[in-house]
Symmetry: C2
Subunit: 216 residues, 2 copies
Amino acid sequence: MADREDRGPVEEPEEISPLTLNRLSFYLRCLRQLQEERVKRISSQDLAGRFNLSATQIRKDLAQFGEFGIRGVGYDVDELADHLNQLLGLDRRHAMLIVGMGNLGSALAQYLGFNYGAFRVVAGVDRDPAKVGRSLGSFVVRPVDDLPAVVRESGAEIGVLAVPAEAAQENCDRLIKAGIKAVLNFAPIRLKGIPGVPLKNVDLRIYLEELAFFLR
Amino acid sequence: MADREDRGPVEEPEEISPLTLNRLSFYLRCLRQLQEERVKRISSQDLAGRFNLSATQIRKDLAQFGEFGIRGVGYDVDELADHLNQLLGLDRRHAMLIVGMGNLGSALAQYLGFNYGAFRVVAGVDRDPAKVGRSLGSFVVRPVDDLPAVVRESGAEIGVLAVPAEAAQENCDRLIKAGIKAVLNFAPIRLKGIPGVPLKNVDLRIYLEELAFFLR
DNA sequence: AGATGTGAATGAGTTCACAGCT
DNA sequence: AGCTGTGAACTCATTCACATCT
């Protein structure tokens, strides 16, 4: 059955499609909004209606992970939010480290560190000695060569790459070698990661180009 | 209202899936890299091998829009890049306007305006009088109430929303009313657009949450 | 020969429709 | 009754396999 090619190791048992994961994250956002409105219970239909989603899909997505709803009634908003929060690994803090404290890096440090519940920017590094030593929020920018120590001391799990495309692969490798657990890449280049370390690309150029297509 | 300026023999846009569009944009990036390496011709196999793609998919994607390749030989790099460039609407400038000149807005203004060939940030607006009047790159921040005039004068086509979630829908509506042609939204909220105006969401929280899932 | 372009087959993802629980 | 959870049907996307062209 499972033919073993010269690929990486066997995958995790909990297979979840990126599309589903994306939606779960969005559902949680919707539930948070309902919580603020003091809504206690909601049916998949209502949820779908409010946020332009598909009721069936909501149910299918959720049912993958357990029976969170009450038949004939709907979902308990608080309870479901908690379940999703836990499922997505947001029930504990995630420390982030930013590589490249230029314009984008600095903006991300403040933007992400500010209002993102489970996430916290705890460190920043840069190659440029002129940027090292600057104080940004709750941390001081350190030299990129200190990465292993910075990761160890700060407990950072997620590395955010905000460096130019040319420097991205090198810094990605360094992050992984320094023991970072996941990478979020803002450089406009497709990086080669390694199997155990999830890597997500946020390519602003591609977003713009997709819009441009509709403006021809 | 969509006025189509016919210039050149571009294939019909037909319905194109967002996934395909995303890949075309990526193919173009790969071709640009090959151009820098002075590569003149490449086969779908080589292209796939170099950038971790599927050769069949490359051919299928491209074949939707014409016969760009030469059987038995491969694709002419320059020619294909030009075709994709034109197909994606990158053969002319696209002016962008940023709404919300806080940290993120300012960073985007410099980041996007700097090194993004076909795109140019030509204007920025903010609600805060303290930010109005600041000079950023090649433009001066103007009050958000001037949107209609700013759009008209600057010729901006793409509106970039870099405002808090609460203000995003209102500003999106204003952008559309002011005649903007497409919207790129960085606020962590799903906006209600209108049919003729393409809208793309870049939700940094969702990217982080998708990574967090793998760190449970 | 060697690579494209493409119908056919397979697989992934979504919607339908209804059984089953409250 | 009302709504969830889920197999079945369906639609969309990818891969296979090969006819076709240089």
